[in-house]
């Protein structure tokens, strides 16, 4: 079967791509997509270690992460739509009302 480090390196690349997306993109929907990439990298690690340690708990936690991610996307997109309705922009740099 697949060796552990190969999957972990793939997950590291997905996570790094997500970090770049969150830092460099200004479109709020793009930022949410980058967060999804990072959550998927975490899921990959959970599954890879679940296989390596022969413990099914990792897969159960991956399912929980998927459920939380679905809730997060729903709420996140509702916020983005509300933001667009009020400000006519979804640029995350322009949302600085609460910035200290």
């Amino acid at each position: 079967m697949i060796r552990l480090p190969l999957v972990l390196v793939f997950a590291a690349l997905l996570f790094s791509a997500g970090v770049y997306g969150v830092l460099a993109r200004r479109n709020a929907v793009m930022v949410l997509m980058a967060i999804e990439l990072m959550l998927n990298a975490v899921n990959l690690n959970l599954i890879a270690f679940s296989a390596s340690l022969k413990d099914v708990s990792g897969q159960v936690f991956a399912l929980f992460v998927i459920a939380v991610a679905a809730a997060e996307v729903g709420i996140g997109l509702a916020l983005v739509i509300l933001l667009f309705r009020n400000r006519a922009s979804i640029n995350v740099d322009e949302v600085d009302l609460l910035k200290w």
């Binding site: 079967m1 060796r3 972990l8 997509m33 983005v80 739509i81």
Partner: protein
């Protein structure tokens, strides 16, 4: 190298390239479509590792539902398709993000390969990812988290409706 590893390498290369395309694409709709490929690659990896149930769940929920939700979000916010005025990335944020992501990736990858060298690490055994095994664990050891997640989903459902509802004419 087993057959699964060759298949995984192909899938991982496709997934990595499309993940990078997601965060660098100028066109947000293209980015959402690249996201489909990246998430499907992750799902296929789950299947190759042997986690069938999670793999199919990944494909159903991410590719089937979450990306569609993203596309709805893009359409509803009238993203100017093909133009980058909405998503201007200054060279500074790109440089900082790129540098940080590169350092993070190199650090994580070198750490991983130092702890588990590819040459000497034994192949992971096929994991029992059947629905029966997951269900037994989920409803035997993790019943309380399961109920909490169901409550979270209910709260998210109500919250999303309340947030995105149109207030016509103010409150009565």
């Amino acid at each position: 190298m087993t057959a699964q590893e060759y298949a995984f390498l192909v899938v991982a290369v496709i997934g990595s390239l499309s993940a990078i395309a997601v965060v660098t694409a100028r066109n947000v709709v293209h980015a959402a479509l690249y996201l489909v490929v990246a998430l499907a690659a992750v799902g296929v990896t789950f299947l190759l590792v042997g986690a069938e149930f999670v793999g199919w769940t990944q494909i159903l929920i991410y590719v089937g539902a979450i990306v569609i939700l993203f596309l709805f979000g893009l359409m509803l916010t009238k993203a100017p398709i093909g133009r980058d005025t909405l998503d201007y990335m200054g060279w500074k944020s790109r440089a900082v993000g790129g540098a940080l992501a590169t350092v993070l990736f190199l650090g994580l990858a070198s750490l991983t390969l130092r702890v588990w060298p590819v040459g000497t690490t034994p192949a992971s055994p096929p994991v029992d990812g059947s629905t029966a095994a997951i269900g037994t664990s989920l409803f035997h050891d993790y019943v309380l988290p399961f109920e909490v997640v169901s409550f979270l989903l209910l709260a998210a459902l109500i919250g999303a409706i309340v947030l995105a509802r149109k207030d016509d004419g103010g409150d009565q």
